[in-house]
Amino acid sequence: MAGGWARRRLAGGSVLCSLVCLLAAAHFATANEARRDAPLPKGKSSFATNPMDRAGLIGQLRAADAQVREGDPVEQPFFSVTGTFVQAGGEDVQVFEYPDTAAADAQSAQVSRDGHTIGRTKMQWIGSPHFYRGGRVIVLYVGDSRNVLQMLEAALGAPFAGPDKPDKPDKPDKQDR
């Protein structure tokens, strides 16, 4: 008798669990649909139809700073394409444009979270490296100008690699050791 009650209760629990799962799945599906239909955040391109390229990025940066201009080419031994210096906010940022987003994806996947290693290359930077991604471009800014960082973040979102994304866990201040 007691065993039958327990089995019925378990069966009831299973049904309830299934119902909850179904409701959750329906909720996520609706939410994702809504997210796809929602307008993109300001300053960002729709990568599916018009992936960000160098010209598009420069256009966006110029909207914030009329003095933005393209400069000389820049070669980095760890990137497969030649980049372009772009002066923004009074500082040089390096813009690397790839043939397609897949190539930019593959290249950015080589960059360590802290930005100190790219593939099998290690750099001693003269300042903090900040790496941004958008469509077909990778942007590298070495420095700490708040103005430049804000301009880049407005155009491309948060950096995918840089000093605020350490590879290693935080260590205690060395003075304590």
Partner: protein
């Protein structure tokens, strides 16, 4: 309860006894040079200008203090600007590489087994020609750090603003410290000992591994009667030693040409 107390005490004791435990490893992934015996010799191709020669010699000597290998300076095989790698060695180059953001850079190439097959070190004179970086401290730090990467070492610490660890594998805004970050420290040597504790079934070095007698020879002479080894060329066949004459004013230089073994 008693057991728990004893365990906690152990943890505290270990914490005090090894304050640098947080730095336990700074190997660059699994990468290392393949060799069939220790110690081995790594050749550094000299493609640097005269402004860098003394720093290259110093870095080579610094890293040779490791128990597992020696480095030796050989004639460069590339142009500094291109700095093309050559199998089995590390080419060291300096040039005006442009305002690309890096002072120095190390690249390694590996085979399918995570073994380093060749490497390059580039020192960017675009910055070293400026007043900020044209100092012995910065030159020593970068010239020491980049070959360290080519040996399979990572940075000990990547925060430039905290106190120095006394290692060139530590990021800093002040290479002189104190402590100075111009040379490797004991932790770097210990890390190399760990990386090269095993041997492989084949060799990716372009220079044959030295046998134990050669290591004994190097170590004995370096710390012995001729003083400090300050230069090694031609794959270690010629060496220059420096020793204080004892009067505090004169130094004795001994140039050694070794017979082929």
């Amino acid at each position: 309860m008693k057991t728990r107390t004893r365990f906690c005490l152990w943890v505290v004791v270990v914490g005090f006894a090894f304050p640098n435990l947080a730095l336990a490893t700074h190997a660059w992934g699994p990468y290392h040079w393949a060799r069939t015996a220790n110690p081995f010799t790594l050749s550094l191709g000299d493609n640097v200008s005269s402004a860098w020669d003394a720093y290259l010699s110093e870095a080579s000597l610094d890293w040779s203090q490791s128990a597992v290998f020696d480095s030796t300076i050989v004639a460069g095989s590339t142009t500094p600007k291109r700095c093309r790698p050559k199998s089995g060695r590390v080419e060291v180059c300096n040039a005006i590489y442009g305002g690309n953001g890096w002072l120095g850079l190390a690249q390694i190439w590996i085979d399918g087994g995570n073994h380093i097959t060749q490497g390059t070190v580039k020192l960017n004179d675009t910055y070293f020609n400026t007043a900020t970086y044209n100092t012995p401290g910065w030159r020593r730090l970068v010239m020491c750090q980049e070959p360290g990467h080519a040996l399979g070492l990572d940075h000990q610490d990547e925060n430039s603003t905290n106190a120095n660890l006394g290692s060139c594998m530590d990021y800093t805004n002040n290479p002189l410290g104190p402590p100075s970050n111009e040379h490797p420290n004991q932790h770097d040597y210990e890390q190399l000992d760990g990386i090269y504790a095993h041997v492989d079934s084949y060799v990716t070095l372009g220079y044959k591994a030295l046998g134990a007698p050669s290591l004994a020879r190097n170590r004995a002479w370096r710390s012995g009667q001729w003083g400090r080894l300050i230069r090694s060329t031609h794959g270690g066949l010629t060496e220059l030693y420096e020793m204080d004459a004892g009067d505090g004013r004169h130094r004795v230089f001994t140039h050694v040409i070794w017979a082929q073994e």
